[in-house]
Amino acid sequence: MTVAVEEHKTVECGVPDPFPFMHPLLKKNYGQWAWHDRPRPGVLHHVANNGDEVWTVRAGTQRQMDVYTIRALCDIADRYAEGHVRFTVRSNVEFMVSSYDKVDPLIDALEEAGYPVGGTGNSVSMISHTQGWLHCDIPGTDASGVVKALMDELYEEFKNEEMPNRVKITTSCCQINCGGQGDIAINVQHTKPPKINHDLVANVCERPAVVARCPVAAIRPALVNGKPSLEVDEKKCVCCGACYPPCPPMQINDPVHTKIAIWVGGKHSSTRSKPTFHKLVAAGIPNNAPRWPEAAGIVKQILYAYKENAKPWERMGEWIERIGWARFFELTGLPFTKYHLDTWRGGRASLNASAQLRF
């Protein structure tokens, strides 16, 4: 006798309603909050119009979590918090509790289990990261490893609120920059044109699409060894790697020539100054797994120059805007080169069209 297995019919349910999963105090006071403060780094205290209070304890995670880690966080939430958690966009986990008495035991439990409490206010929060060698099909470097190595170095800055303002660091494993804008961005920068495997191009790549993808029109169709392929005008090529995703035989990643570049002053918020893109300050940094010490060293140079010299509330870019780029390069000890001059479309807007000078 065969038993018919009922097939599940997909329900295109979309984004789930958050209310069934929300902490009861957040649900009760939805849209009815009055003010907040931060009693200590890593802890937020929100007060509702009706006087209800909720404390949130924020902790860092490794983002790529095994089920044991998630269950350990759940155990802490069940035992020391109230069974609800949420995550920030930077992969920090937050536990909400209804009484201040629960805050210290919760912090102790998290720290004991190895999850640093912090990431609030004027701290260096968790570095936003991408997939890297673990799961991306076009990575120039790893993501989780870079982040782990750097967060080990910046651990105290995560746990304390001693920066002039919040510092958002991002990483990206290719120039598509999935990690986004950051006060400091650590991004792959290729330095050589792609190496083409001409035997594979015709079968793998939609050649007109690849030609169209190039931002500087450096790719053209060609017959190589009698086979239809593509060729790159290496003088025009800006080594951006945009041809590699649609055409994997155009290998852009290279163990030596794929480098790391560091950018500063990106900001999404409209707070005080308008949002800004991050700017290149250092390049040619070796892609030195497993701990990327050269990149980490430069990040710290920049971070501590900012920490010592910026005024309260100035974000990285706002600080540099005030002191000027001449002083930035002086304070960080970073070299200024022709590669810092923007030669791309619209780049003229970044030149100093004035007699305002700093010495």
Binding site: V15, W33, D66, R71, G145, I176, P255, W313
Partner: protein
């Protein structure tokens, strides 16, 4: 006999140090001998170690999906599966979390159980677009894993040339600075585009993001094609007694240096009696003073949102920030939210019809010109759309009188409301 753990001397170096280690997590999974994924995770560790040695990635894409969907599964096939056969297929399911990323422990445990049964036991919370990323599953198990998650009330997110998974800030759930119902706006919007998400056929990706105020905690301005950011229209709320309390505690110099002089439009001034004077007509709703004096200052009561369109990173024409296309929409009734969805539908339709292949919204607007875009969508012109008017004289202005008439009509339409 169980398979040996691979030698991972490079990855081992990422187990030391105080920050939680993803390598230790990968190893815990690889050593779960009673679980179906132990072998897969051993090979995954082996391949990752190889990447650390050679500084090369070894994944390639392909086509893997669930019934009826053309997106949501990120296929990954190993290029060196001969050496690492058990992780030859290591796909990701992108799953949309509850808006605001709220979870009960019960829900997280159920998700862990599902992924332990069908996948690798590795889950990223969350990806850059806001998905729960269930990482590592063989092709044959994808449908069953999705069915289990779907029965739990969860759906796949976006990938490829379609509407992508979105994110909203914690917002009204726990923030007094929230200017609209972020979760409601996000769900109304994304859930109206599920067809464009699950069966992608747009020129390129399209991202919505939702932040409750100008602090933009979801990084919408640059990272979304369609950024929805909370703001308000009336006067900011000031509790003068609390202002005095702050000054009593922190000092007058603190207030001048960290609040008054940091206002980007000099809209603040400190009175002799330690109360705050706000020039609300000059205020740009940037949130700085409100962030500093959280107990004394709040957004106004006439709250709503502004829309910025066209944010993206470099490829292909260079970085673009989103720019204002609607400076204010009040968000009170269900109709207000329906109107927002309606506008989004018109914009996505326009994008679908007018963008070139692999062209983002911001690039399309740059190519056709913002004036044409605004006109085509029937948006109301507003000086809030610009930093300053054009400086370049190369423009044909023989429709001037007609445009002036339109402006006057728009003003006349707005005035009765303002006069009430």
């Amino acid at each position: 006999m169980s398979k040996e753990m691979p030698k991972t001397p490079l990855l081992d170096q990422l187990e030391s140090g105080p920050w939680p280690s993803f390598v230790s997590g990968l190893k815990r999974l690889a050593q779960s001998e009673d679980k179906q994924y132990a072998g897969m995770m051993k090979d995954l560790l082996g391949q990752l170690e190889r990447s650390y040695e050679t500084r090369k990635g070894y994944w390639k894409g392909g086509t893997v999906g669930v019934k009826g969907y053309g997106a949501g599964v990120i296929p990954r096939f190993s290029e060196i599966s001969g050496e690492y056969p058990e992780s030859a297929e290591f796909h990701t399911l992108r799953v949309m979390p509850p808006a605001g990323m709220h979870y009960t422990t019960d829900l997280l445990r159920k998700m862990c159980d599902i992924w332990e049964t069908h996948g690798s036991g590795l889950i990223a919370l969350h990806g850059q677009s806001g998905d729960i990323m269930f990482q590592g599953i063989r092709t044959e198990n994808v449908q069953a894993a999705f069915d289990a998650l779907n029965k739990l009330g969860f759906d796949l997110g976006g990938a490829g040339a379609g509407v992508r998974t979105s994110v909203s800030c914690v917002g009204a759930a726990r923030c007094e600075q929230s200017c609209y119902d972020e979760a409601k706006a996000m769900r109304s919007m994304v859930n109206a585009f599920l067809d464009d998400m699950h069966r992608p056929s747009l020129p390129y990706k399209f991202k919505f993001k939702f932040s409750g105020c100008a602090n933009d905690c979801t990084n919408a301005t640059q990272r979304a094609d369609f950024a929805v950011i909370g703001t308000w229209k009336d006067d900011m709320q000031v509790d003068q007694d609390e202002v005095k309390t702050y000054i009593g505690k922190m000092g007058r110099k603190w207030c001048i240096d960290q609040v008054i002089t940091m206002c980007p439009t000099n809209a603040l001034s400190l009175n002799d009696d330690d109360t705050l004077e706000v020039d609300n007509k000059s205020c740009v709703r940037c949130m700085h003073c409100i962030n500093v004096m959280t107990k004394a200052l709040k957004p106004g009561k006439e709250r709503g949102l502004c829309l910025l369109l066209g944010g993206k990173r470099t490829l292909k024409i260079g970085d673009l920030m989103g720019t204002v296309i609607v400076p204010f929409m009040k968000m009170e009734t269900d109709e207000d939210y329906e109107q927002l969805v309606e506008l989004a539908k018109n914009i996505v339709d326009f994008f679908a019809e007018n963008a070139l292949e692999h062209e983002r919204t911001g690039e399309m607007i740059e190519r056709i010109g913002i004036a044409n875009f605004v006109e085509a969508l029937g948006l109301k012109l507003d000086p809030n759309m610009i930093t300053h008017p054009r400086t370049n004289s190369y423009v044909r202005t023989d429709g001037w009188e007609e445009e002036v008439a339109k402006w006057k009509a728009q003003r006349a339409e707005a005035r009765p409301v303002a006069a009430e």
